[in-house]
Structure formats: structure tokens, C-alpha cells
Symmetry: C2
Subunit: 141 residues, 2 copies
Amino acid sequence: MQIPQPLKDLIESGRDAHLVTMNKDGSPHVTIVWIGLENDEIVCAHLPRNQKVRNIERDSRVVISLEASTKSDLGLTEYAVIYGEARITQGGAPQLLQKLAEVYIGPGVKFPPMDNPPSGYITRVKVTRIEGVGPWTGRNV
Amino acid sequence: MQIPQPLKDLIESGRDAHLVTMNKDGSPHVTIVWIGLENDEIVCAHLPRNQKVRNIERDSRVVISLEASTKSDLGLTEYAVIYGEARITQGGAPQLLQKLAEVYIGPGVKFPPMDNPPSGYITRVKVTRIEGVGPWTGRNV
């Protein structure tokens, strides 16, 4: 599905994203990642072939949740829960991390900090369903 | 397991918590909840018997992730990912929500806002494993 503009704005606003992937035994695995947008897909980068990369290679179901900086009428934090289908592509992780670091840490930062990082992996998520509280769902409780 | 003091402090600091439960088909379900501590268990409250209550009644596996307000040496947000076994108890939700609202919204707020709310449900989570970045794991990347 197309990502509505208010959600695109949230995705690109530098808010930490909670990424759920599925372990081999069917239990959920959660880490926090930096996210961005490329070609209407949500992207995040990984230097090592870590647990979440291996999980997505086996099971494409992911959930990404992130908080907005805005509050609903009741004073609750607005947030998005993005359900999607993910795939892994090889390479390009340092370049994407550098681009995201400028948003998440600040302009001029060098990230990853080491010289000659591995080319890594990129997770690319097609959005299939949007939940949460905010203009991306029209719900305010 | 015992919850280490730095994580207890984080849990009681009024940070929004991302709660993962398991749907009937084995897919993950995510919402944001307010959390607190009671008897070394993490608690959250629900007025209706919603999807997460029904999910936990069927499958006790949950994950709670939340961001700290502190940064690691690399400038990454510190956070906790708490794996646990949850159970549902009936009643007491308005009282717990009122207590949590004083932390999450502010002193003196009336929450839930309606008169005569239903008695609801409480989720109680025994912690089985702690991940993330911060003093609760000793990891800083």
C-alpha cells in the first residue's frame, strides 16, 4: 500500500523505531533501529548479519512501531504501528547509516564510527497495514 | 527473575511502552501502553477486553520495549527490551490507570476521563529476559 504523507513525515522525523521480527520458534524479537524511506518502502541498515536479518530471511513478517512527538486529545502519545513484509538486500548499510545518522544524531556526524565497515544488509519493508493513534489512522484514542 | 534497580527506575519513569503480544495465527500485535510495577511484576491496564487481553489469555509470551531518555557513547538511544510471561487478572483497571496517569500525563488528571468506567483487566508480566542498550544489560551499542 501507499504510505500516507503524515506517516512518511513521521518515518523521516528521526524517531526511534521498535522493530519486531519473528524467531525460528515463533517468538517475537525486538530491537530499536533507525528508519528512513526509499521508493515507498521503509528501510533500515545492519552491519552484521544479526538476529533480525536472519529472522527476516526466514519469515518476512515485521512490525515497526514508533512514537510521534504529538499528543491526542486525551493526552496520550500519538504513535504508529506499521505492519509489513520485509526483505533483505546485501550491501549499502554504511551509506544508509551515514544518511540516517545525520537525522538521528545530527549533521556532520561520522557513522558508523569505524573506518572500512562491512557492506552489511538493508531491510526493506513494504507496508501492508497501519495502526496506532494519529492522523495516519484517524484514531485519537 | 528479579528486575534490576536501573530497569525498575526506567519502568516507573513514565516512558511509553511498546507491548508485543501474539495473535492466534502466530503473527505479532503491537500497541503502546502505560506501565508500572507491582510485586516485581510489570503491570498495565485495559478497560475493554481488547485484542491484547485476548492474545495474552491464549499465549502468555509478551515483549515490552521502551526508550530511556539517555544516550549511549555512540549517541544511540538507550532502551530496554523486556521478555516475559504475562497473565490477565480481572478488575482494578480504572484504579491502575488513574495511578499511571499521574505519572504519564501529570498530577491531578482524572483518568479514565469518563464516570463509571468498566472494571477492566490488568496484565501482569513476570520478566524472564532483559535485552537492549543501557545499564540493565551493560551493553552500550
